[in-house]
Every structure is written in C-alpha cells, then in structure tokens.
Symmetry: C2
Subunit: 332 residues, 2 copies
Amino acid sequence: MKLGRIGVQGPDGNVARLVLVLPEEGRVIDLKKAKRLALHSGGATQEAANRLAEALFPQSMSAAIALGDTFLQAARSVDAERRDEASIDIGSVSWLPASDPSVVRDGLTFIGHIKGFHEKIGHAPTPSLLKVPGYFKGTPHTVIAHEAEVPWPGYIEHMDYELELGYVIGRRGGNLRPENARDYLFGITIFNDFSARDRQAIEMPIQMGPTKCKDFAYGIGPWITTIDEFADLDAIPMEVRVNGETWGKGNSANKLWTVEELIAWSSLGEQLEPGDVIGSGTMGGGSALELGRKLQPGDVVELEVGGIGTLRNRFGQPQPDIWWPEERKPFM
Amino acid sequence: MKLGRIGVQGPDGNVARLVLVLPEEGRVIDLKKAKRLALHSGGATQEAANRLAEALFPQSMSAAIALGDTFLQAARSVDAERRDEASIDIGSVSWLPASDPSVVRDGLTFIGHIKGFHEKIGHAPTPSLLKVPGYFKGTPHTVIAHEAEVPWPGYIEHMDYELELGYVIGRRGGNLRPENARDYLFGITIFNDFSARDRQAIEMPIQMGPTKCKDFAYGIGPWITTIDEFADLDAIPMEVRVNGETWGKGNSANKLWTVEELIAWSSLGEQLEPGDVIGSGTMGGGSALELGRKLQPGDVVELEVGGIGTLRNRFGQPQPDIWWPEERKPFM
C-alpha cells in the first residue's frame, strides 16, 4: 500500500487526512471518510462511526502507525473496498509531509557519496566513519511535503539537494539488533536532505552536528510505500532531476552499513518512535556538490524512487533581513 | 513561580499533573485539581469544571506553556488561593521531567568550559566557535526527571555530568533577533547533559553531532522557575556535588554568547516551540572531565542552581548485552 497525508479545509481551518494513494487510478481515498461510511453502513450511528474512524485514522501519520497492525488492517479493509464516495482526484490534493516524525535522523551509508563528498571537499573521511553508522538529528518542525516550496533563508548562498530514501519506523523500540530491526521498518518514503554547503563548512568543524545548514527544510514524501512492497532494499532505482534534467541516477546498492544496522544503531540506548524517519544518507552522485554544481532560487528538484514515486519541490526566493551573529575575538 | 510535573496513579495507569511548587512550604499544589475545585465552587458542574481545568492544565508542560499568558494567569490564580485540598507533601511526589520539549538543544556558551574542555582533550577550539553560537540537538525521548535513575548503556566506560541551565521557550517563534528573544523565554530549569567521553571521542570526528554519547539521558528539573524571578541572567549561582562532595562551583557569568543570542540563533530558519529546552552549555568547571575525574555506577550527582533548586540523579548499573557494530575496512 501507498499511504500519504493531505490537508483539507474544515470549519476551524485546515485539518490533515490520511489517504490511501492509488497513483495508477489517479486518485486517493480519504481513509477516515471511507471507514466512517463503512461503519455507518454496518449500523453505527454517524457520531459513533466518526469517533472510531478518527481513532483509527487520526491526523498524525505517526499516531496512526503507533496503532501497529490494527492500522494496517484497517487501511487494507479500505483498500479492499476502494469506495468512490471517499475518492479524491490525485491532481487536486494539497499534500502534507508523508509522516510527522518525532525525530528526524539522517545517516551516511552509501559508499559512493562518502567518496564523492570527501573528494570534493579535499579531506579524507575520519576513521570514525568505519567504526559506527554515524547520523545526525534534524528538527522535525521544518519537514515539508511534496510540491511545497522550499524556504531559502537569506544567509544561504550555496544550496544543494540530497537524494535519499527515508526509512519510516513502525514500532517503538530501543536496543534493537540487526536481526530484528527489519520488524521495526514500516515503509519507505523519499527524503530530500536540503543542504547549504557554505553554512555547512562553518558548522561542521564545531562537531555538534548541522544546524542552520540543514534545519531549514527536510522533504518527506510524496507518500510512504509499505515495506512488504520492496523485494530487495539494495536494488531500489533512484534518480534526481533539476528543472527536468537528470543530474544523478543510480540505485540503493553499495552500502557501508545495512538498513538493519542503521536502524539498530539508531535505537541503542534510546528509543525509536512510530513514524520516525531515518534518512539513508545520500545516494552516490545524489548531490549537486559531487557534480560541482549548485542550485538557484526557483529551481525545481525531483527525486524519483522506484516503488514509491516522485518528490517534487521548487525553491523559493531568499528571505531577507535575518539577524546574523557578530564574530567573536579569540579567547585562547 | 516554580512549576513542575509529577506522576499520579489513575485507573488506566500513570498520568502527569502540573504542579505549583512551594519548596519553602514543603508542598506542591496540583494545578488541575485546584482549578477544578475553584470552578466547582463558582457554580460549574463537576464535569464542566474538570473539562476546563484539563484544558488549562494538561498533562504536557509544553502544551500548557503553548497557551501563553492564559496559562500563567491561571497558575497565578491558583497560587493566590493555595488551596490545602489540592496540596501534596513535596517529599511524597514522583517527579516527571519539568518540561517535555519537542526538541532538546544544547549550546556552548561558557568560556571557562570551552577552555577547560579543549585543554583537556589537547585540541585548539575551531575558529567556527567564534563565528556562530554552536549547539547540538538531542532526542527528546530520553529526558529524565529529578530523582530518576540515570540509565547506563553497557557500551559506556567514561561517564560524566555537565552542569547547565536549561532555557525553557515560552512562545513559538522563528527568525528572532537578540533584541526580542527575551520575550520568548518562559523560565529556567536545571539541565544535566550526561556525557560518555569515550563514545564522544569516536563520534565527534564524524561532525554530525553527538548520538550515543549523549542521547541516553538528559536531566531536566526539578522544576521550572519563571523568568520574572531572575534579576540577572549572568549572576546565577551554580554548583555540582558528587556523592555529597562539591566538584564544581561558579555562576552563569562569562559567556561567549548571550542567552538572547543563543535563542535567536536557534530560531533562525526554523521555529522554536513552547516548552523546548535549550541548554546553556556547561559552566566552567561544570564537568568531571575538566577535573580529570569520572563517574561510577551508583554515583549521585546533584546540580544546584540559585533561584531554582537541586536536580539530583543516581546512576544505574551498566546494561549488558547491547549489540555493537563491527568495524568496516577502509574503502578509500
């Protein structure tokens, strides 16, 4: 199944709806509405049908995934019926980020990108990269949806995309092992780790992780494909286009750490939550940096991933008048 | 006012209650209960009184703070009455983390610690530290309360504390400036950035920020003191004791970046949320690393901060049998 989130107008403003996505039929099905109608047909009052449908298909994808198999079964029963009354033309919907993670994590697993990145910046990779599956944490408040404009804070000069898979966590878990990590993987979405290379060069030496070079936007969408639909996690086709031109093409092979190792490592000493998204790290050749290119305001980036679809975003104009700190004098 | 969170037993398990803390009277006041009783005295039915009291004083501190002045006014009206029927002996309560931040951030502002840390690890600080107010992001899922046992994942050898102030955000905001950042500061709590120095030495060179060396626990408590009670943010007394012995003593003076600059910087290109906690960075001499010492299982760490109180935590025993990744062979 393909599962997504859209915004619809309600009496108190926009509300989110979870949808079953049927790209081949050109429509999505509003899961809550379909379930409410089915429950009402089965004898429930409108009020009771609405209450149970809302509990099964809340506004938050993470909250829905947290129901475990109950959510998947309920979605499958809607899929089996595919009611026309709950259908919406796919071309008319307003997408929301496919998940609303409590924490955004982003790994570094594709050997091609690690090589390409370090060749470009002229540094050897740290030996630490061979010891542990490194990742950074991003703010969850700037995740953006398919077709959303990418904000461009005015302090950014050198803008880039990063083509990644987004592993969506299905169950709460800590101290996992690679042998059981696959059971915690709900599905895969497309993840664009937008990156400001000029800011990154300043921030990374502090060693506390990216902040202003990454936290302005994380693209998550267009929807999630459930994990049962992927035959081989190391053979997923991936491609990036800028303004319609192919800038990178490859697949999900050649990883330094497996998906299961990245998930297990992320869970050590803490816990993963349903709906959390872990970026795979950039595909080899999946950034403009590796090509010696950069993006301009108004550019359109499309990330296409086999078995999922295409995540498309256009960059906005640089936002002016943002405060910037004054450099301090050395103190030691 | 001093505002905290405690756990109480309900018919479906533990629930959180927000409390007004009166250390000098040896009691806390259950804010929801006090409000419910006051509303009922004023003519509300039990059911309606309960509904409104829950909306004003929900289980989440962040959700309460998100009400803005309405929350503070409601808490002040409870403070004005100080009802005995809603009081609980302070010695009998089970504390929860004083806030439930959506994102944990932790800065690096005290010059004394930056000097002491770099002298100890034998590296010069990066020039980037003079350019921007660096911070890292921690997972919000491992925040622990006053008197909670600190988990000790078995892969950690060299355990440390860090004595910090926790700035609690009061309003949603992005692209703030230092001149208006103070309006977004709800209060201050005590923040213990527990740190595994052996793991940190491996992780930091990856430059993606701390993960396993920090994300196992962040101490936040014992409660929040609202910002109106602090006369001078650069003159707050701070002290750390280990097993009753003073290991560090100082105050909040001598910062590389002001509180307002740290808050404004954290908000650039993204947004701070009510209840978010930003650590000040460690006070000079506020870590055992600077003393050449380390902690053992069972040690008790007390962080005392003037105008707030004491955050006390005992370390648990190392947790065995955690998976660890196998080192990879160099590939370039």
